[in-house]
C-alpha cells in the first residue's frame, strides 16, 4: 500500500498508526493533485511485497518485539489488584492468557534459533483495572507493529491471534472501567509514552 505515499520519507498509514481508511483520503489527494492512474498503478505494483522466502531469523526478531511487551504484561498481571467473584476469575483468566502468550512466543523465538527477549522496560501507572488496560493496549500495539514484516504463515497467524485476544480482553476491561466495549473500527493499542 506504499503506492499511497507521495513522499518516500513519509510514514505509511500503518507506520503512522493510521488504518487503511485514512490512506483513502491520501489517494484522493494524489488524484486531485494530478497524479495519473497509470502512475498509481505502477507504484502499487512496486509496493506489493514479492512472494519472498520465509525467513525464520527475521520472524524471530519480530516475534521478540512482541514478546518483550508480553513479558511486561505478564508482570503487570502478577501485581494485579485484589478482587473477588467474577472479577477475580476474569483477572485470573486474563493472567493465564498473558502467561501462555509468553511461553508460546518464547518457544516460537527459540524454534527460529534466536534468544527470547526479556520484558520491555518502563512502568505502568494507574489504579484499579487501568494498568491492565494499558498493558494490554501496549501488547496490541507491539503485535500490530510486529505482524507487518513477518514472512511465515504460522507466525502471522500466531501474532494476529494474540492481538485479537488482547483486543477482546481490552473490550471487557474497558466495559467495566469506562463502559464502552467496542468503540472503534480500528484497534491499534497504545505505544508507551
Amino acid at each position: 500500500m506504499q503506492a499511497l505515499r507521495p513522499d518516500p520519507d513519509e510514514p505509511t498509514a500503518a507506520e503512522a498508526g493510521a488504518p487503511l481508511a485514512s490512506a483513502v483520503s491520501r489517494r484522493g489527494l494524489l488524484a486531485a493533485s494530478g497524479a495519473s492512474l497509470s502512475a498509481l498503478a505502477l507504484a502499487a505494483c512496486g509496493a506489493t511485497r514479492e512472494e519472498e522466502e520465509p525467513s525464520p531469523a527475521q520472524d524471530a526478531e519480530r516475534l521478540n518485539e512482541l514478546l518483550a511487551a508480553e513479558e511486561l504484561l505478564n508482570n503487570i498481571y502478577r501485581s494485579a489488584p485484589q478482587a473477588s467473584g467474577a472479577e477475580r476469575r476474569m483477572i485470573d483468566s486474563f493472567a493465564f492468557a498473558a502467561a501462555r502468550n509468553v511461553l508460546t512466543l518464547r518457544e516460537a523465538v527459540t524454534d527460529r534459533g534466536a534468544e527470547p527477549a526479556g520484558p520491555e522496560e518502563g512502568m505502568v501507572g494507574g489504579t484499579g483495572l487501568r494498568p491492565l488496560i494499558i498493558g494490554e493496549n501496549r501488547a496490541i500495539a507491539a503485535g500490530i507493529s510486529a505482524v507487518g514484516g513477518l514472512t511465515e504463515a504460522e507466525a502471522k497467524q500466531l501474532v494476529q491471534g494474540i492481538v485479537a485476544g488482547h483486543a477482546a480482553r481490552v473490550a471487557v476491561l474497558r466495559s467495566i472501567e469506562e463502559g464502552d466495549a467496542a468503540p472503534e473500527a480500528w484497534v491499534m493499542g497504545e505505544r508507551p509514552e
Partner: protein, 206 residues
C-alpha cells in the same frame, strides 16, 4: 455500553465513495471493452492468494454490515443491543470500504455487490432473520463474529503486504471486540466474554 459511544460514520460518505469507484470502473469499462473481456479483467490483473483472501474478507464485511443494518432498522432489538448493532454497522462499513480500496490498489476489482448479499457471496447469512427475537439475533451475531475471526485467522496466512498484515490485525482486533461486546450484552461472565473461538482455557469459569 455507555452513552459516550461515538456516532457511526455517515453511511452516505462511504457509500458515495464506493459507488463512485464502482460506477467509474463499470462506465469506463463498458464504454470501451467487449463484455467478454470485462468478465476476464480481474484475472488479467494481479489475482493472487492475497487478493483472493481480500475478496473473501470483503464479502464477509459486507454481509456483516448488511446484517447489522437490517437488525438495527428492524423492531426486534432495543436499547443497548440496538445501539450496538447501529454502531457496528458503521464499523463494518469502514472495514469493507478500506478493504475494497486495498484490493483496487492491487489492481483487482472488488467483488460485485448486491443488496441483500447473495447466498453465494455471503453463506454466513444463512438463517439470518432480522425480525427474529432479540436473544436469537444476539446469538446470531456472536456466531457471525466468531466466524469472522476464524476467516481473518485463515486469511492472514495469504497476506504479504506489510500494511495489509497490520490492517488485518487491526480489523481482526475490532471483531474480537465486537464478539466480546455481544457476549457482554447477552450477559456472559467477563472471562467467557473475552474468550476467542478455540480458546477453551478462558471459558472454564461460568
Amino acid at each position: 455500553m455507555s452513552a459516550q459511544r461515538p456516532h457511526a460514520p455517515q453511511r452516505e460518505d462511504a457509500t458515495t465513495r464506493r459507488d463512485v469507484l464502482a460506477r467509474g470502473a463499470v462506465l469506463a469499462g463498458a464504454a470501451a471493452v467487449p463484455a467478454a473481456l470485462l468478465a476476464a479483467a480481474p484475472a488479467h490483473a494481479q489475482e493472487s492468494d492475497q487478493t483472493k483472501a481480500l475478496e473473501r474478507l470483503i464479502n464477509l464485511e459486507r454481509a456483516s454490515r448488511y446484517a447489522y443494518r437490517a437488525a438495527a432498522e428492524g423492531s426486534s432489538l432495543s436499547g443497548e443491543a440496538k445501539e450496538l448493532a447501529e454502531e457496528l454497522a458503521g464499523q463494518e462499513d469502514e472495514h469493507a470500504t478500506a478493504l475494497e480500496t486495498a484490493i483496487e490498489q492491487l489492481g483487482v476489482q472488488a467483488p460485485e455487490e448486491s443488496d441483500p448479499p447473495s447466498a453465494e457471496s455471503a453463506p454466513v447469512l444463512e438463517g439470518f432473520d432480522p425480525e427474529a427475537g432479540e436473544a436469537e439475533l444476539i446469538g446470531f451475531f456472536v456466531s457471525l463474529e466468531e466466524e469472522t475471526l476464524r476467516a481473518y485467522g485463515e486469511a492472514v496466512a495469504d497476506l504479504t503486504a506489510d500494511d495489509l498484515l497490520r490492517s488485518a490485525a487491526q480489523i481482526s482486533g475490532s471483531h474480537a471486540q465486537h464478539l466480546a461486546a455481544w457476549r457482554l450484552v447477552r450477559g456472559d461472565a467477563p472471562a467467557k466474554a473475552a474468550a476467542l473461538p478455540g480458546d477453551e482455557s478462558a471459558s472454564e469459569e461460568q
